[in-house]
């Protein structure tokens, strides 16, 4: 039995009020005024109850939830709406999701972006609060309608229920009345025992679209009169165009224009763009013009992998700027009972997002449209306003699915290309980077050379650890705000030393970390796992070397010397149990690694054998993870599985070869840059430590423990310590 339906008149009055007056801005942690005010995606005034930036309840009961993070496979499109829907007590079958931008509520630290493995963590309380506030208003609306005490009313599946009075009303019917109410400041949140959705494996909302070809990515965008541009950049990172003749490209049927664009940012070269009716004629035009262009190769045209290695190695052997110090490691190392002095090398890595870089733009006076899948919504909006010479409120961003983000799509260089070309031609243009360009002009995971002097005392405990890492920093060119000052006043990049300082896993009384910014000129950026992808390989290999010096079991040795024996100890204990660490299968050996990535503790045990060429053959990967409360266990598992194999890909075969100041042809496409293949992927088992602590991130942590665990397994098999990646 339901209560009386709202009269149409009361709905219209309430809905009209909802159109403008009731934005309950629920700010995210560390928020400040958004740097880019842009047009919020408008909800028409007669279409329901919008109490805050996160949700609208429509008169028919449908609920639309705003998604402020980019869906790039990590599952935010499902997990974040779950947070709202749980506290709202929505009917999950009536949920739809809309990409949103522009409201300050969507920002972290003043910008809207998706990276850092922090989407769920930073949304956990604010989005639940938004759902709870809306629920409270709907209950109050029903209470007023029925003359009932709201404390006696309950909610479930999009309905307010008066059990005692034998009546119920749908959220849709209550929407108009609720819109007239004042949102509560601190609505109570559910306790985990009452969760209906959170903690359950709700199927992904994008699962079907991604299985039918319906999901649309930036590269798929098709708009009226939109042409396709394929870019051609210099063969070197620092090159430019000296002279070119458009004729060879224009001679290809279907090619409409050849456009020269200048550099629109640091580490971004000028480029030619062949603009055509579609990708194929544009590509043919590019291939026709490429041999005829006169390039200025720029200042580093002789740089290659060997010269970089020699330079970094020489610098790693000397002291560098101090990033962190506890105790007096330079003196203590000499007092160690046994010590080692080792140097590790990690290569430049390419992102290889499965979808090559792509963006479309239409620039005309007073308006700019951008279509792309981006991890950096705020940065795209700012760039479009600047390059389109419009106010940010005149930019419309059409966010697409991302064919991988991996940190590459946090950069808006391809958007800059699209804006520049469209601005010149005055038409909508879609830019697609061919895979060769996508690799050649990537912002790489930095190469590093890391020298470690470490020693144990007479009780075999880690005693002194001096760690010097030499690597490039994106802070030098594109992100100067990320640079910091070390304890001795020298410039450092905290990302570069990540994992070696505050989040270092072990209690070492004399601990010194130095990090030198290499400034090699090779463009670098943020790759999934960032600094920890180099640093944890080294730290967890060195810890294994110390265990070997001590003659100790590698897992037990770590367990015995954790800085946080309670929480990290629980992770290692779970890993020991689930991996069967104490009883390895015959013919196989085990390697282990543990890390703290942004508060998530993750440990991996890899069981492996050795192939004919000495390459490791991983047979099984087991991971134990403490990430606090797990919002969606199936999506969480997807991330840990995928991240582990992403790390395995780097461990086995990935490496960018530098030659003649650019990417060498040998690693210039997927025939030479070796990604992990189907038949190389072992089974991955994931175990979560049960927890009701606030959630921490999962997109990146498992990436960083796999390379050292594999190298450690290889050592257990062969007795040979491998100190350079890749291992295959």
């Amino acid at each position: 039995m339901t209560g009386p339906a709202l009269s149409r008149r009361s709905f219209i009055l309430s809905a009209a009020g909802a159109g403008g007056a009731l934005v309950l801005g629920v700010s995210l942690p560390a928020g400040s005024a958004s740097a880019a005010a842009a047009v919020p995606a408008a909800v028409p005034a007669d279409s329901g109850f919008t109490p805050n930036a996160w949700l609208t309840v429509f008169p028919d009961g449908a609920v639309e939830i705003a998604l402020h993070k980019a869906e790039m496979g990590q599952g935010v499109m499902t997990a974040l709406p779950m947070l709202v829907a749980e506290e709202l007590d929505a009917d999950w079958r009536r949920i739809s999701v809309r990409n949103a931008y522009g409201d300050p509520a969507y920002g972290n630290f003043g910008f809207q972006f998706t990276f850092g493995s922090m989407s769920v963590a930073s949304s956990f309380l604010p989005l639940r609060t938004a759902g709870a506030a809306a629920r409270a208003m709907l209950v109050e609306a029903a209470a007023q309608q029925w003359g009932a005490d709201p404390a006696t009313l309950t909610t479930r599946d999009g309905m307010v229920v008066d059990a005692a009075g034998g009546r119920e009303a749908s959220y849709g019917d209550l929407a108009g009345l609720a819109a007239a109410l004042t949102p509560p400041e601190n609505p109570p949140l559910k306790s985990p025992a009452d969760f209906v959705l959170l903690g359950t494996p709700v199927p992904r909302l994008d699962g079907e679209a991604k299985s039918t070809g319906a999901a649309r990515y930036g590269v798929d965008v098709r708009e009226p009169d939109m042409l396709t541009a394929v870019v051609l950049r210099p063969p070197t990172f620092a090159g430019a165009i000296k002279a070119f003749d458009p004729a060879p490209a224009l001679a290809v049927p279907g090619v409409r224009h050849v456009v020269e664009i200048s550099s629109h940012g640091p580490d971004i070269t000028p480029a030619l763009a062949v603009v055509a009716d579609g990708f194929w004629p544009a590509w043919k035009g590019r291939q026709a013009i490429a041999p005829t262009v006169e390039w200025d190769l720029g200042p580093n045209a002789e740089q290659d992998s060997a010269s970089l290695l020699a330079d970094f190695t020489a610098r790693a052997a000397q002291p560098g700027p101090l990033a962190f110090a506890e105790g007096t490691a330079e003196k203590a190392i000499a007092r160690a009972a046994r010590q080692l002095d080792v140097t590790y090398v990690t290569p430049f890595l390419a992102h290889i997002t499965m979808e090559p870089m792509s963006a479309a733009a239409w620039v005309r006076p007073g308006a700019v449209d951008v279509w792309t899948g981006t991890q950096g919504q705020s940065f795209v909006l700012m760039q479009a306003a600047k390059m389109g010479n419009v106010d940010p409120s005149q930019v419309t961003l059409h966010q697409q699915y991302l064919g991988c983000g991996l940190g590459r799509r946090a950069e808006s260089d391809v958007v800059g290309d699209a804006l520049a070309i469209s601005a010149q031609l005055g038409i909508p243009v879609k830019v697609i980077w061919p895979r060769e360009e996508d690799i050649a002009h990537d912002f790489f995971r930095p190469m590093s050379v890391q020298r470690v002097q470490a020693g144990i005392d007479s009780d075999d405990a880690p005693f002194a650890w001096i760690h010097h890492t030499v690597a490039d920093s994106a802070g030098v060119t594109r992100f100067p705000n990320f640079l910091a000052t070390g304890p001795e006043g020298e410039e450092i990049d905290p990302f570069q030393a990540a994992g070696l300082t505050d989040s270092f896993m072990y209690a070492v009384p004399h601990h010194r970390v130095e990090s030198t910014i290499a400034r090699s000129g090779v463009p670098v950026g943020f790759w999934r796992g960032v600094g920890e992808t180099q640093n944890i390989f080294v730290a967890e290999s060195v810890m294994d070397e110390l265990a070997a010096l001590a003659g100790a079991d590698p897992l037990q040795y770590r367990r015995d010397h954790l800085a946080d024996p309670v929480r990290a100890g629980a992770v290692l204990d779970l890993l020991r149990e689930k991996s069967g660490w104490d009883s390895p299968a015959e013919g196989f050996a085990r390697g282990v690694a543990i890390a703290n990535y942004g508060g998530t503790l993750v440990a991996a045990a890899i069981e492996a054998s050795v192939g004919e060429n000495g390459a490791p053959l991983p047979r099984r990967i087991v991971l134990a993870v403490d990430c606090g409360f797990v919002v969606n266990p199936d999506i969480a598992r997807q991330q840990v599985e995928g991240g582990a194999l992403f790390g395995l890909s780097a461990a086995l075969g990935e490496r960018v070869e530098i030659a003649n100041g650019g990417v060498a042809p040998a690693t210039g496409n997927l025939d030479g840059y070796r990604l992990l293949r189907f038949d190389e992927a072992p089974p991955v088992e994931v175990h979560f430590v049960p927890s009701e602590a606030a959630p921490s991130g999962l997109g990146e942590p498992s990436v960083v423990v796999v390379p050292p665990a594999l190298a450690n397994a290889l050592f257990a098999l062969t007795g040979e310590r491998r100190r350079e990646l890749p291992l295959g």
Partner: protein, 152 residues
């Protein structure tokens, strides 16, 4: 003029004969479910069925396909989801999803030819398809499940 039969429909396209099938599908016919990943046949995000076999459409010139039956991801599930698509959803395979059209075309071609493949046969059929999100374990599980469901 290039003649193509795609998802049961005949088309005449005024495009150069050397246009890869991939770009005839995406740009001329607007069928963007088939994806571009490398252009050199190394990733198979562009896989479609040609007379039942999964082939990388970036390497196949459009002019070579007269009289052949081409099926794309859009056509696979046209009469309701293919069993492979159902198990892909049930197993939670897709993450970013960009490679999955090609993966599904490869898997469905495998099962059409070999209804109960063992892991070695699955390895061989799926090795050409790259997945950067590395959803490989769930792909394997979804293929086994689809084989089982098709047998019932």
């Amino acid at each position: 003029m290039v003649r193509l039969t795609v998802n049961g429909v005949e088309h005449e396209l005024d495009i150069p004969g050397d246009t890869p099938l991939l770009w005839a599908l995406r740009d001329s016919l607007g069928l963007t479910g088939t994806k571009y990943g490398c252009g050199i046949g190394q990733c198979h995000a562009c896989a479609v069925h040609v007379d039942g076999a999964a082939v990388p459409s970036c390497l196949v010139p459009a002019e070579s396909l007269a009289g052949k039956e081409i099926v794309t991801i859009e056509g696979l599930g046209a009469a309701g989801l293919h069993p492979v698509q159902r198990t892909w959803i049930a197993e939670g395979v897709a993450q970013c999803g960009y490679c999955q059209s090609g993966q599904i075309m490869a898997a469905s071609a495998l099962l059409a030819a070999n209804p109960d493949p063992d892991d070695e046969a699955i390895d061989a059929a799926m090795r050409p398809n790259l997945c950067r999100c590395a959803t490989y374990g769930r792909i394997r599980a979804a293929i086994h499940l689809a084989a089982k469901e098709q047998a019932q």
